[in-house]
Symmetry: C2
């Protein structure tokens, strides 16, 4: 079953945009009377029937709605410093969407080599991954955000906040635990996880995170690339839920 | 610290092959007297000193050996049906090596669309991922193997055998459990995991697996691509160990 995406369907729109219309009518050769399935990116799946197979603006009637389509039982916000090779970050966005993530924030920190980030390609990859993996909700991609700003933003007491760090934190007055143990102890279903750049977070950033109630975590002994570490954290939350 | 790879160093060889020599002398400009680090792919890291900076056959003296360099606490054999797009399988090989895997077998099953597999590129990717992630052991890549043959091969009682399947197995007289529960119950540190093609395993293949003592497992509710499912299984074993 092929899914189409219309951000505005929940707002009453009953047409596919130019690109989706073209794919629906020109590529998949759907015609008037055909049933198609449309996600709104907010979690809903709409069963629709085409009433005008216009290849530039396909018009449909909504027959039924399924809420929470392909949803997961947790909320996860991944904040990740994009590596130099942006393909690796795009790959993370695709895989995290398939597995189950709600928000993604690219980070820029003290040791970041990449200080600019253009989200257009990532957004397209995320939408197509959500359609491919049959999820009604499309993860929200935020703009490039400073590590300190992300650390300071409030998530509320019902969100467990984890920051991955390779070095010891005892000297900074903190403790580091394996993400497996952190998830066992969490007792919540909302998570924010920060993954630093290749040079990791700075000691100042970790100190600030400790001040703001972030739990320093480890992902085990393997030396993982940024995007692999980030997806491992997503898998840990997904598998534990 | 950059690692070099010499499969023969454990056999007494004290030269890098042409490609590694070129990288060592031409690219990294190492010279006589420089210390370099060489892995043998079997788990050992050798600290060596260059005695002849020949760009085609760099000669070195071994100063010390570290065993079990970058090793993990489990043994994992991943048998995965490569998808049509071979890049996705190569990506799995890279990420699984980083995370921690010991053997990889490409599978061909009843519903496989890909029935040929050339391993050369994958082997190069695995070696470079092992070097990049600082592992002395290079995972072994086997040739394309039939699902039935892989199911029938004996792994011994100390190995937990898991086969991922999307459909129900009650009709086949089996039970399906989440990989998280399977790992909790395993009581062993050796694992073999089978991931099928896009069309999944056939009912005959699952029936055969049940006959041969494989536990049918689920990776959760998300609709994962082959390579994402395979890496999620690797992450589950890695995170639980």
């Amino acid at each position: 079953m092929e899914l189409f995406y219309s951000r505005d369907i929940a707002l009453g729109s009953s047409t596919l945009d130019r690109q989706e219309s073209n794919h629906c009518v020109k590529v998949l050769r759907h015609r008037c009377g055909d049933t198609i399935h449309v996600i709104d990116g907010c979690g809903n799946l709409y069963e629709c029937v085409i009433v005008d197979d216009n290849p530039n603006a396909t018009l449909y009637d909504i027959k039924s709605v399924t809420e929470g389509y392909g949803s997961h039982s947790y909320w996860l916000h991944m904040a990740v410093a994009p590596p130099k090779n942006i393909d690796r970050f795009e790959w993370f966005c695709e895989k995290a969407t398939e597995t189950g993530v709600d928000e993604i924030t690219p980070l820029v920190g003290d040791y970041s080599e990449r200080k600019v980030f253009k989200g257009e390609r990532c957004e397209r990859i995320i939408v197509s991954a959500a359609k491919q993996s049959h999820k009604g909700a499309v993860p929200q991609l935020h703009g490039l955000t400073g590590v300190a700003d992300f650390i300071k933003q409030g998530f509320g007491p019902d969100t467990a906040k984890y920051i991955c760090y390779c070095d010891d934190v005892e000297a900074l007055g903190g403790t580091k635990i394996h993400i497996r143990e952190a998830l066992k102890q969490a007792g919540v279903s909302r998570f924010a996880v920060m993954i630093g750049p290749e040079g990791d977070f700075s000691r100042n950033e970790i100190a600030l995170a400790l001040e703001h109630g972030w739990q320093v975590i480890s992902l085990g002994d393997s030396r993982l690339r940024i995007e692999t570490a980030a997806l491992t954290a997503v898998a840990a939350v997904y598998l534990a839920s």
